[in-house]
Symmetry: C2
Subunit: 184 residues, 2 copies
C-alpha cells in the first residue's frame, strides 16, 4: 500500500451526481478549475494519494459494451466465464482502468493523458467493491504545465488484493487540486 | 505500418449491429466460438494483423463519460480544449484504447486480457476516422490455452499518423479466428 502524503477520497455515492451531469451535460465548475476558493485548494506534491471507490454494476458493464463494442461473452455469460476459470461474469478490464484518468481529471480538470501501463492481475467481478488509488511519484514543470507520473492501482473488497496496477503520466494545467467538497 | 501476414478487417458499418446486440443482449454465436464452419476459420499465427475502423461521435464521448464518470472538460468544452492547445474536443484516450480488446475479443470470444501499454501520441478528435491495428508478435501454448502478445496501434484519417500505440497480452482459449462474415 502506498498511502503516504495526503489522501483525498471521492466516492461515487457522494461525488458528482450522474443525474445532475446528464441534465447539465457538464457542470460549470468542471469547466473552470479556478472557481474554488484557495482555502480549500491544495497543491499536489510527490507522495500525494488520490482515491476513489466504485462498484461496477451489470448496467455499467452493458453500458461500456455499448460504447466500446466489446461484447466478449466473459462479461455477459456466466457459463463462458466459468469455462474460462472465473467465478462469475467479469467487468471489462479497460472499464476498471477508466478509474485512473477519472480520478486524475476529477482533481485536475483539463489534465491530458500521455501514457498508461496496465497489468490485469486478478479478476474484477460485477458487484466487487473496487478502490482506485493514484499516487504522484514524479513531478516536473515545463512551459507553465506540469508533467506528473502516477503509480496507479486498484484493490478490491477492502483487502490488499491488487486487481490492476501500472503507471500513468499526465500533463496537468496546474497543481491545484479540486477537493471532494467542490465535486458535490 | 505492420501489415504482413493475413489481414482481417471489421468495420463498425458492416460488423455487429448495435441495435441487434441491444435486442439480444449478446448473440448466441458470440457465446460459442465453435459454431462457425472450418471452411471459414483461420488459425492465428505470428505476423497476422487484425484491423477495425471506427469514427467516434459526440454521443460516443458522452456515453463513455456516463459509464466511466470521466467528465474532463477537454472532451466537452471546445474552449477548454483550445486552451490546452488542441484544435477541438478530444475523444477520451481510454475510449480509443478500447478498440484493442474489442478487436481481439471479436475474433477470439473468451479472450482474457492480461496487460496493455498505451502511449497517447497525438490527439483524437470527435469525427476522426480511426483505424485500430493489432498484430500478433509472439505466441506460446500453455495448458491448452495460448498466451499471445500483440502490438497495438491506432492511426487516423488514412494517414501514417500514429495517435496511440503500445502492446497487449491476452490469453486466448483457442487460435481459431472468427471471420468478419460470421459477425454480420
Amino acid at each position: 500500500m502506498v498511502e503516504s502524503g495526503s489522501i483525498l477520497e471521492l466516492h461515487s455515492q457522494c461525488g458528482i451526481s450522474e443525474t445532475m451531469l446528464a441534465k447539465t451535460f457538464v457542470p460549470r465548475h468542471l469547466l473552470d478549475s479556478r472557481c474554488f476558493s484557495s482555502v480549500n485548494s491544495k497543491i499536489l506534491k510527490v507522495g500525494d494519494v488520490l482515491r476513489e471507490a466504485r462498484v461496477f454494476s451489470s448496467e455499467d458493464v452493458k453500458g461500456y459494451a455499448e460504447v466500446s463494442h466489446d461484447w466478449n461473452p466473459l462479461h455477459f455469460d456466466q457459463e463462458s466465464a466459468r469455462k474460462a476459470g472465473f467465478e462469475n461474469r467479469l467487468v471489462h478490464g479497460m472499464l476498471v482502468s477508466s478509474m485512473f484518468p477519472r480520478i486524475i481529471s476529477a482533481h485536475f480538470p483539463g489534465a491530458v493523458y500521455v501514457s498508461q501501463t496496465l497489468h490485469f492481475r486478478s479478476p474484477v467481478y460485477i458487484g466487487d467493491d473496487i478502490l482506485g488509488i493514484v499516487q504522484a511519484t514524479t513531478l516536473r514543470e515545463t512551459k507553465n504545465k506540469y508533467i506528473v507520473k502516477f503509480s496507479t492501482k486498484c484493490i478490491k473488497n477492502h483487502s490488499e488484493l491488487v486487481v490492476l496496477d501500472g503507471e500513468a503520466t499526465a500533463i496537468l494545467p496546474n497543481l491545484e487540486m479540486l477537493q471532494p467538497s467542490h465535486l458535490e
